[in-house]
Amino acid sequence: MENLTFKLTKKTVTVFVVMIAIGLIALLYGVLGSPGAERVAANLLLNNYYFLSLGLIGLFFVTVHAISESAWHTSVGRIGEAMSAFIPAGGALLLIFFVLGGLHLVFEWTHEDHLDAILLKKTPYLNEPFFYIRSVFFIGVWAAMAHYIRKVSLQVDLNGDMKYFNRLRTLSAVFIVFYALSSVVTSWDWLMSIDAHWFSTLYGWYVFSSMLASGVAMIIIILYILKRMGYMDHVNVEHIHDLGKYLFGFSIFWAYLWYSQYMLIWYANIPEETVYFYERHKNFEGIFYVNLILCFVIPFFALMTRNSKRTFSVLIPVSVIVIIGHWVDLYLLIMPGAVGGEKSGIGLLEIGLTIGFMGLFLLVTFWALTKAPLASKKHPLYKESLDYHTNY
């Protein structure tokens, strides 16, 4: 008999709560101790953005596979849906962070006495009221759509009616168009405007590809945890293979966009653009190369063969590496501008806060998993999903 109702055991909850407690202790240490307010704020932004994006990627996966009607994804769709439950929590935390002073600690353009000729020209876009309007609008629409898509998706499961299946497809198309625009604009707002003088047209998609790869890695890890707990028996090696292919492909996609951005700036050699990478080469040289190795070199070679994508013993270490790698990627986007080379570093504060946010993210995700059966048995494509077979 398959076990489809997920129950959170006390042990699991305790683990997550301890992780959150570690995060809070790290935050307390950051506020009271030596690291300084700027570094704490930059770290909060990093982790908040990271885990909010993972939630969004969960929803993105559900919607992409809904409009493409991919049968195989039906078996693991619940994980993406559960990850999207973090969107309201992560969004609210981010807004609270901005309101409670994070905005001024991280973003130079919020200080009126720091504005020079270039930044003054950007004030029609980069001003606080408009920034808040945009942030609230995007987070609000995301949370509302996540809630509504989840509701319709559960209806598909309960009724198995084609009416809901079609409605889910329509909603998904709307979300994908909205997310395509909003993910780019929010990455300008929340990340690129840290270095307000600098700009890159590829930035939004670069950040999106980074989050996409780590989102797949997160889905694989959550699937593994669930399987270890004795759930998700209907997910077979073919589905895992497909997730592995995604991880492999999106890691290459990330490298492609990383290189496209770096190459053009390096080649054109215009000072107002190269200043961005000059800072990263000067003060963050080691992390700069570690980032490339973790996000591209290791997944590329480790997941190249068919067997490695089909076995958890390879897939899980690579997923963990990719998640760490894209955390480092965000670190490189945020820290040089927000904190600077001398004051930043990876220490107890960074590790503690990340563990804390990870605990919160997993707690919300697993709590959302308890709310619905783990397999959508009445989904029109469920049977096809179980029979799915992939050769390469």
């Binding site: 290189y259 770096y262 190459m263 390096w266 080649y267 050699n269 190249m304 063969t305 068919r306």
Partner: protein
Amino acid sequence: MNKYLTAYYLDEEDLLKGLKKIKSKGVEVADVLTPFPVHGLDKVLGLRRSRLSIIAFAGGAIGATLGFLFQAWVFTRAYPINFGGKPYFAVPSFMPVTFELAVLFAAFSMVFAFLISNNLGPGSKNIIHDEQITDDRFLLVVKMDEEDDEKVKAVEIILSDAGAQGITLKA
């Protein structure tokens, strides 16, 4: 000289059923020729996975290495030119050519490996077992090594027992 015993079916379900029966009797089936891909045939035949991807990786690795080394040699030793004050050994600018050569070598090595391993290409001679395999026949080929007529007859009986519609022996 090898002899081939061929048996054809007109339906893929019959073919799969017959094939299982024949294999259970211990007859080695050399190949099955079908007008379209038949699901589950690989498993019944016990085919190994193609090793073409290994050759592709080797070819790609060789191409990438050669492309990189060649550029490194040209731009630092053979004909160094200063491009806007950039270093001679400029790794980022080497990447496009390195990548292209990796793809080119991987593709070519795969094509030639495929042609050689399947005995295809210009000048190769292949036996056509049945002209209708591109039309509506599912053909099953058994290689007969010996001149032993009794053995041929025994296999023939097994094939017709397994529901083959027509059996022919070709030299």
